[in-house]
Symmetry: D4
Subunit: 247 residues, 8 copies
């Protein structure tokens, strides 16, 4: 309802002043003292609120899981520990957990997977981050093709698999160390490439800084970068792009 | 033509060995000694080759402009100087130049503008980079809405213009200094946000590093970042996303 | 007593040479060998000495707590561990401890809370630092309004609570990751904003460096920044400003 | 006027729907295409809008100066060049310029100077930044005491002048190279100290980074830091604090 | 002559004490006051001394060129300016200069070119550094194959030219921006790859730091890296390796 | 077999279309789902695939060791833990382990050691990295001379041992802290020096960054650098150079 | 013995060829395989070899302690753990250990303490590093005055103790966080000040980098800086200076 | 005069209250508005005040030169430009200037040169900084031995000159690029080594940062470091040490 309509209804008495006031002062979040849960998020963005589990107190985590499960009938959490999984599992037996990616979920809706996003990694050590991306995208209804261990130091592995990658609406390129994978893929596809630097490496990789700089400086077109190890962010953004493509 | 088909045609004699050989050894670029121009780019990616003019020798620039104009009937260059414009203009009178963004083009095809991308800036000093993004997108056939000077230190300016931004298929958020614009927009729209840090600022902005870190660390969802001042990269990626959306 | 007065009293014999000498050579600290406790601090600055507990040896901590309690009738320590609390509690049963903020105190004076300072956080993980700020301010007699989890990626949460923030004499803005909260608040209030970057985040947050740079580069007016995770420093400074306002 | 009142007046017909709508959709800035000038700033914050002249095109600068002069009867610009001064002077003969600080102003209101802020520098090379702070504070009605060249390598110069500094409601400490001035002053006064690192220095000063880190890490209480060379920001914040003190 | 032999000859009187003393105190450099020219370098390392021209005073440069020309009958200088060339040319008419690479030489010996080193670049802007490498190698008698503009964002250009690269005894990979070229080549050849990061790029390339980190972190085997823009160092090392291979 | 030959054989029917197709689509790696093992590596590069053990899951490690042992009759792994050794030992009793360097191998082929590479360290703490280099080189058939603890702060130790170093075809210089060893050696030998910075040190060594920068900036000729602590990479590259020399 | 004399004695037969040869090939270190112990160090520099215990294997440590004790009748080790102390104590009952500084020694010679060096700290947390400096200096025969907890945020503590500091031949200034102590002392004394940054601090202290930069950029004269936490280095250098002064 | 004496003289009337007051309030600097010249410096430290000319306004420079010349009969300035020299020369014909080091002086006292300091450089490009150190030391009465171009990549040049270096009371080691000179010298002498990193170099030298880190991390004993290019600081400190040695 637009402001004008609302004012007209106030004037004509169709809605009360209190109702109108609540409209202007609407509180689209649940005040929990230590947190303000965004309950209208799905309406606004098409994505329900996700829990970043790392560092959350047990009590708070259970409280938030409960609130969201009650509201949405599903819950999706990232960077969860085994301990957090056991905690949640006890109270919500439908909870599932993937120790590799750290994803904890109650997948109540089992959305149909649509469109296509390719999630690629340079090495096997990058798979944990890649799975965070892939499972985030899948949770939000995206079909995902995994193409792992195709780093640029053995370019024939990537070229052999390029067809599957080229079919996607969006490619997520996950790489640590020198992080060159995104540039090479960027030159081989005509869709957006989301580059995810990982903290995989040692020495002058500086916990992912090297891969981040490589990706930000990519000379290929159609590439943008998210934070180091931010598989979730890449999976979310890939889903947005995939949704636009299949709309 | 797939490998199998090709081999069958070789066997049956439909095509000569020389033709088949050239297929496997095809050279989809024009060897110019100092450069290898990608002449099939438009076929492969839907985008014709773009010239990064900065630092190119006069002779090389003219040579490349000529080759591409002959092949494509249009030319698009970024980071061109006034001197380079005058040089090109003399030989190609159809050349146009925008001194703010440094874009030099021969817009031979005048594509229809489709879909919608919003290009926003935090301040007026960010407009040069924003125009590089906007005009790149427009050149490749994207309709662009410009929303300038809506930085977060006066949030009411952004909120007042949010409707126009929310209508876009993709938002480009251009900001220097603390670079917080992308995060705020990310929380207000449900489409991808491409964050472009700029080198605008002084002191601890470290020529855009501060804005880059801000954007890479954004706590909002659906954001990815390109290089500092890389308006071209953002405009290109926004066009890819916009094309997927209107396909 | 000014130098001139003192000299006149020496000359006139009103005070002895020894007394005068001690005046010039006064030692306004307690020499403890390993430390020099500032015993006149409250007189000089209006704030009694505070203990930075982290890393202090058990014996030293107890010694210092004892000295200050004897002198001031109250003690305030930051970054205390549970172990340190138990140690102090045993000897000083009036000791209290807040595990979230790490504050350990013997609140002997229970000052009346005056004026108003708002302490805001971007996320829930920033609350530990925010509580250090809030409880420091309260200990020194400042009334504090807590406004937590109002980060810029969901700007409506901040706007909904802006009234309470605008009533304060000073705002403390606590944020990690991209740290944009301070800039947005800076544009919405007309009082000083003390920005506290936190080490909350991962990857390119570089343990708070990203948030620190964001805040230092803020394009909003009326903002200054303290060290990463320095809630104590912000609470102290906010109290100084609040005292000036209510003087 | 609060939302409720407004709605009641709409209902009762005291104000028209159009008037009410404009209230909710108010545009408290002047749209200039390339910029959105904040015209209600003074009402909202008690400070009129200030122009950051550096990098502004001639035409834009004149346009903005004109708009603000017409609206406020005074104009204040920072980081102006001699060329910009001559440009403005020609059209607005009342314009004044200080080449040291780069401040360009039309001081139409000549506010009475109240309260007291001390602006200190470590060396003579820091004076340019200090003057930006001092003149900003003066423009907004603050009385300023300048105490220059009192760096810590000759501590007696500072101690000799400490009385004047201790009388202020707020101290601005401006220093480059190792930037230790703020810490020493912080231990000698009981009011807020705003630390301004400068880019003065060479080698490992890294254009002010060293001084910035020193100030951010200060072990003294009651200190917060602004950006490198940001005299304006310090003068603005000092004025806010001074206003609170003399309110 | 070994120490023992020498001592025996001293004892037997075959050589005088003075001769023996000069042996132990030999001064294998020419003392020029401001410099100590290494005159035995060619004997020791197989490479004559090279002049780093950048920043040398005119008088010193001429002096050094003269000394080396007299001694070696050839001179090789890097990073020379046009001015320095003109200066040297006037006195030594045989001097040649390449403005692209900045190499200034009197190629008195015209060594036969042997073996094979491939010098590759990612883009055209990297050619200046690549030429420094190539011409250094050629001056020292190495046959060089140039393969320019084969960056990873258009991987087919590299694959098309890979045969020529695979024939070399050593590959020099020159790249700026994200610097991924070395990794890809490293996976395609079985000889040493010398990676040369260049300062080509902008924004987060940080003047070559990004490319340097990429190359140092390469996940391919058989790669080592020299300083940013250090074409000379790569050409020298490639020659050493090539000499070992053709020995 | 070249493309042309192949096509001729297709045409003449010497090989079937399926065989030819498999040639173009050959998959020279073993798809293991989580990894793509390069099985033709030895043919292509003369080096069999090496396992980077660090971080590999037990099950994956055993699987890969098995595959490679079956294929190559030998296995070489770096950065293995004692736990991983015990795991492998249980299933493959021929496995050997060196706890200092972390190398785990099944040395089935016992190649003859040829040529000569010198591996030098600055201090004793650098030996772990040096052994990774030395044992890698030895595994691939290189004869290695170890010269440890010859850092530049006691230059006589290096000079005393210089003869053995000068006999090598390639020198590996391993040093942490200030990392100056490579430069000094570079001036004393006429063969390639591979510099390996180590993370040995404290304070401003920044985990090897200082040594890395020293080595990259070396003013000596014939030096190139690998990643911090990358003994494996140095041993591999040294072997490539040694092979060229003894070919 | 000079080279000439030696040769004359060879010629005249006063010494044998073997003796002379050993002179030229003298090996002033003890080869231990994993290390080369410098046994002539005391003769050459006036300081016996010191053991950096951190990270040494038990067996190696015992071996080196034994060798040095046998040779020198005393042993001095830095950065020793309690475990290492117990190990050494068992075999060498005269061993002493200070857990604060980590110094482990067998003080067999008990040199007389001469001259004077002042060792100052900014805070109590810096004392561990200061004790490493003080005890190193004392071990080598220097008289040390400790002046702890005189940081610049309470400048009166430093001024009160300045006399004792001014009497020294050299001052060691130990400080973490913002590290300003060295500059202030530098302005108050006329002897060399050795600045030791410590890793004490948090947030933007970056493990001592901030204090290091402060000290390197000091605007006071007569200051030089050693590595972060390098108390040993400062104590050694202070002893060298003190020895020169009392010579 | 001590405080007690003074008070006794006040009491006894030997000195007036005004005289005593001026003693306590003495102002040992000359207030010049923009600067506070330290006029008692020579008395206090044995060194007269030195002018850092860089960036000083013409009028200020002349004013300060005049004041110091009048007071001390000599003037010493560093980092002076040719323009500044001409300016000063006109008014003070005795002024001398060395364009290499940028030192401008009126050497009125011509002190006798005593003791010995060796000033060494790695390369010829480091001589400008070395001369600043050498001439500073000479101005303050130190005898200086220059040993230039003895960098570690040709270690024989250093070893050949080591005797002259070993005779000094203090060595200044000036080096850019990888900065290893200080470590090697540190192992060859038994007196303090002051390391001066220079900004000589390119690429990853990062304007002297690499050399600074090398020197700070030196594994040799008896080394401390000053700021990048700070020849003056090294010359000053070397003079302090030399004075202690010859006292």
């Amino acid at each position: 309802m637009e402001t004008r309509e609302l004012l007209e209804q106030v004037k004509s008495g169709k809605i009360s002043i209190e109702e109108a006031e609540s409209y202007f002062k609407r509180e689209p979040f649940e005040e929990m003292g230590y947190a303000k849960l965004d309950m209208h998020r799905e309406v606004r963005s098409g994505f329900s609120e996700v829990i970043f589990c790392s560092g959350k107190a047990d009590e708070h985590l259970l409280h938030i899981v409960g609130k969201l499960y009650e509201k949405n009938g599903e819950v999706f959490g990232t960077r969860a520990s085994v301990h957090q999984y056991e905690l949640v599992k006890e109270k919500f037996p439908a909870a599932e957990y993937d120790p590799l990616s750290g994803i904890l979920k109650i997948d109540g809706k089992k959305r149909e997977k649509k469109g296509l996003v390719a999630v690629c990694t340079a090495g096997t050590a990058d798979i944990a981050v890649a799975e965070e991306a892939a499972q985030t995208a899948e949770y939000f209804g995206t079909k995902v093709e995994r193409v792992f261990d195709v780093g640029v130091s053995g370019i024939h592995r990537l070229l052999f698999n390029i067809k599957e990658i080229q079919d996607a609406n969006c490619v997520v390129a996950v790489a640590g160390m020198e992080g060159a994978l995104a540039s090479v893929i960027g030159g081989l596809v005509d869709v957006p490439v989301i580059a995810v630097p990982t903290s995989v490496g040692y020495g002058a990789s500086f916990h992912g800084l090297s891969a981040l700089l490589t990706m930000i400086n990519s000379c290929a077109n159609g590439i943008a970068t998210v934070n180091i190890d931010n598989g979730y962010g890449a999976g979310y953004l890939a889903t947005q792009i995939n949704r636009l493509a299949i709309k």
